[in-house]
Symmetry: C2
Subunit: 124 residues, 2 copies
DNA sequence: ATAGGTGCAAAGTCTTTGCGCTTAA
DNA sequence: TTAAGCGCAAAGACTTTGCACCTAT
């Protein structure tokens, strides 16, 4: 993967905004300082960065994908009230793949897990 | 929810085809015997049936939703090779919500979990 | 030099919605 | 009778892609 200024900007932006922005939100953020950047470029680079493991894709059914610069296998909870996404550490969740493999004998390679709930800000 | 012939047909079709069809696949199946049915009706009824808990929606990121007439909280594995969806019994997987709630103190209401792997037919 | 990246606009996929007509209760 | 459902076609949300130009190596 050869260097590109745009990819660096996207990576930086994700680091500065750990709020799990969507491609669109990222695009809006980037355009402030780089009005020439294109939404297609944002999508293309996000896909590349996910592909090579530098970032993490958060797929919430029926919502735009969100992205996380921290790719350490942690999980996420989406707030049903405000849409905010909380991080849930990896250690908080048992290894479902291992369990399902042991119980079924299936050849399971991975899984996607997303939690739904109410964030602390909305609870109060 | 008042009775509708179309909804009954959709429900029947889902029972006859436990292969977790998508709205489109269901539409194609239904049209064989009921050429007048509309795709919008299929979508509307599937949403209603999910809403009232009669069927289960299977959301695989970046794929059309699939539907399962058996709504007992079991899980699914999508085959990375052929797209086939295997059932994984509820008991095969630990209660991730309880674990995550205990570990984080967050107010977690539910979760979506999908497995990726290779089905037995493709493995051989 | 050339493989890969970019911006733009168009297209693609899946799903929902507005509307006038039909049907269950 | 009237609230709910239907079929149709149009629109919506999100994402990808084709193309001509640009840039890193």
């Amino acid at each position: 993967m050869i260097y590109s200024k745009q990819r660096e900007l996207i990576m930086d932006c994700l680091h500065v905004h750990p709020s799990h922005p969507s491609a669109d939100e990222l695009y809006a953020l980037l355009r402030v300082d780089h009005p020439g950047i294109s939404l297609a470029t944002v999508y293309r680079n996000l896909n590349q960065l996910v592909e090579c493991g530098q970032i993490m894709r958060i797929s919430v059914p029926h919502c735009a994908d969100r992205f996380d610069a921290v790719n350490d296998g942690h999980y996420h909870m989406t707030c049903e009230s405000c849409g905010h996404i909380d991080d849930i550490p990896r250690e908080a969740v048992p290894d479902v793949c291992k369990a399902a493999t042991a119980a079924t004998g299936l050849d399971i390679h991975g899984s996607k897990l997303i939690f739904y709930g109410v964030c602390n800000a909305c609870k109060h």
